[in-house]
């Protein structure tokens, strides 16, 4: 679409930061998922003043605007499906402050999660959330989507570790929400509303992160099961014993084989599923905790439990987990990674259901799960050029989400609603609740310029 406001944008950010060529627009038409939408123009911003001016301008003209980090989202959250402006935030990439003793870091939104980890590690600190995308995904994106990770079960997710943000509203005004101090003032805690708001409320330009002391030691285990359901049953059993591991990840036979074929780590290729389990804390007592877990796993039917004996073995297990999506991606032209959750003790039931869906549709599905959180990542493999396959994939999605909700779960554990889950939103969110959320959304962004049509869509539109 021809844009009649290019000169306005150029006056705000300069000519070199306004992209309109076909190839540029193509580059910014997708995220890490399968939803596409061409923006009319891509704008790179460098500082708060430019962002404020750009927001004010877009607001005055009611032009849809999509803030974007490195585009690692999986629900179409940064796709400009209505055209308009994509505002790229990655040049705001400074770590502004690491305050070790107060255990706070202040960062710009374009900093990646991994850069934060590297900056705080020398002080013996960590920023707990570690999404699989951490090498690439930005902190602005982590905040907007409430990114999860591998140790959510013990340490929580993004929203448990972001304590404030400086944000710019669509009217161009800056406000500071939360910050370093305990929130003692008698005011609404807006910081809690920003988390997982998917860029529909305002644009964060500074983010306050809570840091934690790094755990002193770990024990890492691989528990091997004959079937996927057996592994599912073990998850609840471990937690019921009162031990909360920091990691409790599941990989099924398809995932194990995909990884093994690629990386030759020595994974048990005949297992129905494995659980990667890690406990951490002070070194003393960890051996007993690990042994308790080994015992429970065996009690509920593990074929074998292997304890990593050294750092190399531990690293191998983690490589297997971290590379599993990539490994599965090698098998077919496309994959769709779903993100439903169920209460932990419903895992065996939903695993069984997914297996039956795979057989029914003849579409391969690998199962990966943040099992301790009840968060499934079924990897559905297909070729998007094959229309019949696409119909069957759609059928799987539909059935899966309905089942997850029926079991007391949700549409998404950590990827968000964005555009990808809109068609299922009414399964999970009543129209009365949508009305309430829209009132909140409009209080921040009355003209709905930010990520219009996503997350909390206007039912009339």
């Amino acid at each position: 679409m021809a844009v009649d406001y290019l000169n306005d944008l150029i006056s705000i950010v300069g000519k070199e930061n306004v992209l309109t060529s076909e190839i540029s627009l193509d580059t910014y038409k997708y995220d890490a998922g399968l939803i596409y939408g061409n923006p009319d123009v891509v704008v790179f911003v460098e500082n708060e003043e430019q962002i404020a001016s750009l927001l004010k301008f877009a607001n005055s003209r009611k032009i849809p605007l999509v803030p974007r980090g490195n585009g690692m989202g999986l629900s179409g959250g940064t796709v400009a499906q209505l055209g308009g402006i994509v505002m790229v935030m990655t040049r705001l990439n400074k770590i502004l402050e690491v305050d070790p003793e107060n255990r706070v870091a202040v960062v710009q939104p374009g900093v990646t999660n991994m850069e934060v980890q590297k900056a705080v590690a020398p002080y013996g600190l960590v920023y707990m959330p570690d999404p699989a995308s951490q090498k690439v995904s930005t902190m602005g994106g982590n905040l907007g989507e409430n990114a999860g990770g591998m140790r959510g079960i013990k340490y929580g997710v993004t929203k448990d570790h972001i304590i404030g943000a400086e944000v710019i509203l669509t009217n161009g005004e800056t406000v500071q929400i939360g910050g370093k101090l305990e929130p003692i003032a008698q005011e609404l805690n807006l910081n809690l509303l920003l988390q997982q708001s998917e860029g529909t409320l305002c644009v964060a330009t500074k983010i306050y992160l809570k840091l934690s002391p790094a755990p002193k030691a770990q024990r890492t285990m691989l528990s091997i099961y004959k079937t996927l359901e057996d592994a599912g049953k073990a998850v609840s059993a471990i937690i019921a014993k009162g031990i909360i591991p920091c990691t409790l990840e599941l990989m099924d036979n398809k995932v194990i084989n995909a990884v093994e074929e690629w990386l030759h780590i020595g994974l048990p290729v005949h297992a129905g599923a494995v659980l990667l389990i890690e406990v951490d804390g002070w070194d003393v007592g960890l051996d007993r905790q690990a042994q308790q877990i080994v015992d429970i796993c065996k009690e509920v039917g593990a074929l074998e439990v292997k304890l990593a004996r050294n750092e190399k073995e531990r690293a191998d297990l983690w490589v297997a987990r971290r590379m599993s999506i990539g490994a599965m991606g090698r098998m077919r032209p496309n994959y769709d990674m779903e993100d439903a959750t169920v209460p932990r003790n419903k895992l065996p039931e939903i695993f069984k259901y997914v297996t039956s869906l795979s057989e029914e549709t003849n579409i391969p599905i690998g199962m990966l799960a943040h099992a301790g959180d009840g968060n499934l990542h079924p990897l559905v493999l297909f070729d998007e050029r094959d229309e019949d396959e696409m119909r069957r994939v759609q059928y799987i999605r539909d059935k899966l989400f309905r089942k997850a909700i029926e079991l007391g779960g949700t549409l998404s554990g950590e990827h968000g609603v964005g555009l990808g889950k809109l068609e299922f939103l009414n399964l999970a969110i009543s129209k009365e609740y949508l009305k309430y959320m829209r009132a909140e959304r409009l209080a921040f962004d009355p003209n709905e310029i930010l990520n219009r049509g996503k997350t909390v869509p206007d039912p009339a539109a």
Partner: protein, 452 residues
């Protein structure tokens, strides 16, 4: 209030659950004159929704009410309107110990809840400083917490979902039952500390924890704040306490009134380790080596000490009443602030006590003056506020009606702040009926004075 309105409320909750006698209204009031017109006791969520609909249609203020233990901390005096006493909704709807969740009605008392949870060795890791009667709904909207928030986090970390009635009378369900959930705005947590101003919580999905294997409390006494703070730094930075409290010498004498004697005069540091046996033991050993005066409290002394800590404010306040101020500072500035504040208090408020959630950088200042006579301490409060601000901290006074300091603080973070909050309130509560006397929005809204 019109008789027709009272009739309509009676029809919803039944005559027995709709009270207009003065004694009951006074129990839900703020002063001799500021009392509601009617108190209703709904028995289920639909009744709450129907009550709110009546109020919405007629523009009548509605104030949800739990045990009333913190009402004067978070609400301003208000005359008229409907008080919705939630204690009739006190059931556990579902205790799913396998998933470590409990779905409870908001009016259940803290004590009744924990008694059921312990039957499966689980508990809700929120430890409000209020009495055992306080309700889960009240804990949530008042963001109540106690010393263990250092290790466990506060209320928001232990919630998964809600059922609530919106200010327009709809029943909605933010959140859910699973620990990861990003299909809505996080209204579950946003309600924390909202003091009823955004809706009435009717049910809460709680996230539970297994009971720790072992807990050990250690006590240290120092001659002055400076050396006590040095110890606090060591303890927080080199071990992982679940709670880390610091009491100045006046606060210690208040604890002594409750029966806890530390065996020495001076500034107390009390901290708690919790978790697996070996890990608790290794940390206790560590601090005993660092501080040879460390006293590991036995079971009885532990109970007495934490009870005395919990009773600090009521015992201090006694019959006279007391003003409670809360200060937040960066952890690194805690020692400096407390030292300077104590020096300031010693000049003309020797009776004032300070007690800190030291690990969190949060200090309570207890001033020996009744809240009605706030003017008498305003000067010293202002001086403490400026000491806090010197170290990038903040002071608020909790149990008075003057919101000047709070408004100044909020505005100081962006002139758009007040407008933004006003738009949120008006968006979800177009008739401004929900707890219009909540302090959290009182300074934001104009023209919402309660009418009856």
């Amino acid at each position: 209030m019109r008789q027709e309105t009272i009739n309509a409320l009676q029809k919803i909750v039944g005559e027995n659950n709709c009270k207009t006698d003065e004694a009951i209204r006074r129990q839900h009031g703020y002063s001799d004159t500021a009392i509601p017109d009617v108190v209703v006791y709904p028995q289920n969520s639909q009744q709450v929704a129907d009550i709110v609909k009546v109020a919405y249609n007629e523009g009548i203020p509605v104030v949800p009410w739990g045990a009333g233990t913190k009402a004067r901390i978070g609400l301003l005096p208000q005359t008229g309107g409907i008080a919705v006493n939630m204690t009739g909704m006190n059931q556990i709807v579902e205790y799913d110990y396998e998933n470590q969740t409990a779905y409870v009605e908001a009016g259940i008392s803290y004590k009744a809840l924990q008694e059921v949870l312990i039957t499966h060795n689980l508990f809700w890791p929120v430890e409000p400083i209020e009495s055992d009667d306080c309700t889960v709904g009240g804990i949530l909207v008042s963001n109540a917490a106690g010393p263990t928030k250092l290790g466990y986090g506060d209320v928001k970390h232990h919630l998964l979902g809600l059922e609530m009635v919106t200010p327009t009378g709809d029943i909605i369900n933010p959140g859910g039952k699973t620990v990861k959930n990003v299909q809505d705005y996080d209204n579950t947590r946003f309600m924390v500390g909202s003091w009823g101003s955004l809706g009435i919580i009717t049910k809460v999905m709680l996230k539970l924890k297994p009971m720790p294997e072992k807990e050990t409390t250690v006590f240290l006494t120092f001659n002055d704040i400076e050396s006590a703070y040095a110890a606090v730094r060591t303890i927080r930075n080199e071990t992982t306490p679940l709670a880390l409290e610091m009491m100045d010498n006046v606060a210690m004498s208040v604890m002594a009134k409750s029966g806890f004697n530390s065996g020495g005069n001076g500034v107390g540091v009390m901290f708690l380790y919790s978790g697996f046996i070996e890990q608790v033991d290794v940390m206790v050993d560590y601090v005993q080596k660092k501080f040879n005066s460390a006293v590991v409290l036995d079971e009885k002394a532990t109970a007495t000490a934490w009870q005395a800590r919990q009773q600090m404010f009521p015992v201090f306040a006694g019959q006279r009443g007391a003003i409670l101020a809360t200060v937040a500072v960066p952890f690194t500035a805690l020692g400096r602030f407390m030292r300077q504040a104590r020096a300031e208090l010693d000049k003309n408020r020797k009776g004032a006590a300070m007690v800190a959630h030291a690990g969190n950088g949060q200090i309570h200042v207890l001033l020996d003056q009744s809240p009605e006579a706030y003017a008498g301490v305003q000067e010293i409060v202002n001086r403490l506020a400026s000491l806090a601000s010197d170290v990038d901290g903040l002071l608020v006074v909790n149990n008075i009606t003057d919101m000047t300091l709070t408004r100044r603080w909020v505005e100081g973070r962006g002139r758009a702040m007040i407008d933004l909050m006003a738009r949120i309130k008006s968006g979800v509560d177009p008739h401004h009926i929900m707890a219009p006397n909540s302090k959290v929005l009182s300074y934001v809204l104009n023209g919402t004075k309660a009418v009856s």
